[in-house]
């Protein structure tokens, strides 16, 4: 795979109208993902801009990505996850970089990220390493880790009892070090990887699960002694359900409900409707459908099929390893209601 063209030729090739059009399609999708994930380019208000801005950034990103030509030759398989995800990480890194952060005190998240990087780099308690894909990482050992770990594998780690969950405390050198060492130890134990290296990006994401990284004061009363009771009112741990999915999400969810309706065939529609929409009992459903046997086996199979359908979809199913993560319940409710409405219409039309 050593065949290559020069960077200039590659750029010219990318700018050919056909390829430019393709990159714009990709930029459209990335723009949408950035809106959903609330990631933006420095100085850019996504809500007030459009995908053209993202196209320019994507083009620049591709042109400077090492090994991009070889990756393209591998086919679509790896590119989507490799470049698209790489691009979103690149945007995050750019936002936090020195060059882009002249007013870092306006962005507490960004400030915290850089503060952690500086504190850990200067510390003798931990070692820092630069990773091509994961940015700056920290750990305790020179031996390279040999376990494949994703950030989501570490997100269930509980916040320590003895560190206050507020932003002001977070920025102190002593607190950052204590928290980093704690998180590293817990991560090593959770993954049985004694040489684990944690990216600062993942560490900050974990902190942000418990502490609002904002300079504005956010207080909540501490109650009870147990961990669960004490932070009962922490708004990050006990998030209220979203008031309502936004219109972008709703348009996807409507289509997904129809997709699942179409997956159900023949009598499956009725079985699903009676059990999941009407909440009828086994004997009632058997009687309605003129069956002697209990249909719970079929119901279980349909539930499993629904789970398989929902598993890869954003919002509708939670990340399983994040024990305190929940699906967007309103999105799911909307999905279920929509599905039930459609099922009812179908069953009525077919004389159910």
């Amino acid at each position: 795979m050593s065949e290559r063209i020069t960077p200039k030729e590659f750029e010219q090739w990318l700018l050919q109208p056909e390829n430019e059009k393709l990159l714009k399609i990709i930029a459209d999708r990335l723009y949408q993902k950035m809106i959903f994930q609330n990631i933006s380019l420095p100085g850019l208000n996504l809500q007030l801009s459009d995908a053209r801005e993202i196209y320019q950034e994507l083009l620049a990103f591709i042109l400077q990505k090492p090994g991009i030509q070889e990756t393209l030759l591998q086919g679509a398989r790896g590119i989507a996850s490799y470049i698209s995800t790489g691009f979103l990480n690149h945007v995050i890194e750019r936002v936090r970089s020195k060059e882009e952060s002249k007013d870092i005190y306006d962005n507490a998240w960004r400030y915290f990220y850089r503060r952690v990087s500086v504190v850990l780099s200067e510390s003798s308690e931990v070692k820092t390493y630069k990773s091509r894909n994961r940015g700056l990482c920290f750990g305790m050992s020179d031996t390279k880790p040999n376990t494949i770990i994703l950030a989501e594998d570490l997100m269930a780690i509980a916040f320590p009892d003895d560190i206050p969950m507020n932003y002001k405390a977070m920025t102190k050198k002593k607190t950052i070090l204590k928290l980093a060492v704690y998180f590293w130890k817990e991560s090593a134990a959770a993954t049985f990887e004694p040489h684990i290296r944690i990216s600062i990006r993942d560490f900050v994401s974990w902190v942000n699960r418990y502490v609002r990284l904002s300079a504005s004061i956010e207080s909540f009363p501490l109650t009870g002694n147990s961990e669960e009771e004490k932070y009962k009112f922490n708004p990050l741990i006990n998030k209220a359900d979203d008031p309502e999915p936004d219109s972008e999400k709703l348009s996807y969810i409507r289509k997904w409900a129809v997709n699942f309706l179409n997956i159900l065939q023949g009598e499956e529609k009725k079985i699903f409707y009676y059990y999941e929409c009407q909440g009828l009992k086994n004997n009632e459903i058997s009687a309605l459908m003129g069956k002697k046997a209990n249909l719970s086996y079929q119901r279980d199979k349909l539930r499993a099929r629904l789970k398989t359908f929902l598993r890869p979809l954003e919002w509708l199913s939670p990340e399983p390893v994040w024990k305190n993560e929940r699906p967007d319940l309103d999105a799911f409710r909307f999905f279920r209601n929509r599905l039930c409405e459609k099922l009812e219409q179908t069953i009525m039309v077919n004389g159910g």
């Binding site: 795979m1 065949e3 290559r4 063209i5 090739w13 390829n19 393709l22 990159l23 399609i25 990709i26 459209d28 999708r29 990335l30 949408q32 030509q69 070889e70 990756t71 393209l72 030759l73 591998q74 086919g75 679509a76 398989r77 790896g78 590119i79 989507a80 996850s81 470049i83 698209s84 040999n146 376990t147 494949i148 770990i149 994703l150 950030a151 989501e152 594998d153 993954t191 049985f192 993942d202 994401s205 996807y252 289509k255 997904w256 129809v258 997709n259 699942f260 179409n262 997956i263 789970k307 398989t308 359908f309 598993r311 890869p312 979809l313 954003e314 199913s317 990340e319 399983p320 390893v321």
Partner: protein, 392 residues
């Protein structure tokens, strides 16, 4: 933050959504419509991203025209990473199964053109215990990927397409070892975290089984015709004589109904519950209890149950197919032969099926030209026949 859920979403699109050229084919209008009706990615604009990357990649290949893409297809060697032939991609149940990349596990046999392969996937974040992530030092010509030692199948040589890279011999050997024992992991391989409840990797494994099945079934259809069994050595026996011979070695054996033919004497064999190990009933996994008849110089020496885990079952208008594993027999046992049947107790009818068993992976595939009814039973008969001259 990249999550396994996102990785699963990409995997589903790459494995089961029609690529742009197929989506625009008039011949596939019905299939494409069905797919759009049920696919959460193609019915929205989510799929546009992968499609665009796909076309960009094809365009770039045309621009650069790398020499590897014209690699000699005849020069198939152990350890090669190859993509399966695009012509084998098929529509099934509303999904279009795209060609996977496989590792060749054995050099091509001199006798026939069968190739043993293991399926692979490039995104290592979907690997789970039992998979083998290939480190950079043991591969050439390819980016990171992992091998699925539990997803091994036989293909015809002509099913293999473009050569993409190669792994070291040790990787192939370890893959075969892990197929036998998924708990083995070579020192050089990265460790993988255990599966959690509802882990996206579980759903990915289901997807991989369906993908492998879609491609292996086509080869199996050709290979299974070769299988024969040698029950006909009993053709001169009466049914009663044969029943007596079987009862002599296993007195508690029963038949689903009173056999009237030699074939039924084997196909309707049923073991007493106590003859089957506890694991069979304690486990939730489906299995078929096969009957193994050990013949020595034409004499029945033993009849024993063999518990065969079932991997996948499929009923369609074309018939019924079941895949699984027959454990406990050594590779290359030429004295083994097999039969499979669906027994319909209500109508007292027997339907023989086509059969394939791979001595290396131990996987079987049985296919019947009829649907399996709710009360029908699948029987597998294994004949282990060694004559005096074979033992010398």
């Amino acid at each position: 933050m990249y999550t396994r859920k996102q990785a699963l979403a990409f995997a589903i699109q790459i494995r089961t959504c029609p690529p742009p050229d197929v989506r625009n084919q008039k011949d596939y209008q019905t299939e494409n419509k069905r797919h759009r009706d049920i696919c959460p990615f193609c019915s929205t604009d989510i799929k546009n991203e992968i499609d665009a990357w796909n076309v960009l990649s094809v365009n770039f290949k045309k621009r650069i025209n790398p020499p590897n893409f014209h690699h000699d297809k005849k020069d198939i060697k152990k350890g090669q990473l190859r993509v399966l032939n695009k012509n084998l991609c098929r529509w099934r149940d509303g999904y279009y199964y795209n060609e996977p990349l496989v590792i060749v596990l054995k050099d091509q046999s001199e006798i026939d053109d069968e190739i043993l392969v293991a399926q692979t996937w490039h995104d290592i974040y979907l690997a789970s215990p039992g998979d083998l992530v290939v480190p950079e030092t043991l591969r050439t010509g390819s980016y990171e990927f992992f091998i699925e030692p539990w997803n091994i199948y036989i293909l015809k040589k002509q099913y293999l397409g473009q050569y993409l890279g190669k792994v070291a011999d040790d990787v192939v050997e370890q893959t075969l070892k892990m197929h036998e024992n998924p708990n083995i992991l070579p020192d050089w391989a990265p460790r993988l975290l255990p599966l959690m409840e509802d882990d996206p990797r579980l759903y990915f494994q289901e997807l991989e089984i369906k993908t492998g099945y879609s491609f292996s079934i086509q080869a199996v259809n050709e290979l299974m015709e070769k299988q024969t069994s040698n029950i006909f050595s009993f053709a001169s026996d009466s049914v009663d004589m044969l029943i007596a011979k079987i009862k002599k070695v296993k007195s508690d054996i029963e038949w689903l109904w009173q056999p009237e033919t030699i074939e039924e004497c084997f196909a309707l064999l049923r073991f007493a519950p106590e003859a089957i190990s506890l694991s069979a009933s304690a486990d939730d996994h489906k299995e078929i209890v096969a009957a193994c008849l050990c013949l020595r110089d034409g004499e029945i020496k033993a009849v024993k149950p063999v518990e065969c885990p079932v991997f996948h079952e499929k009923s369609s208008s074309e018939g019924y197919t079941v895949t699984g594993e027959i454990p406990g027999f050594a590779e290359g046992m030429k004295e083994l032969s097999f039969m499979c049947f669906i027994s319909d107790k209500k109508n007292r009818s027997l339907t023989p099926g086509k059969w394939s068993w791979d001595g290396i992976s131990k996987n079987f595939l049985a296919r019947f030209d009829r649907i399996k009814g709710k009360d029908d039973c699948v029987s597998i008969i294994i004949i282990d026949d060694i004559s005096e001259k074979d033992r010398l």
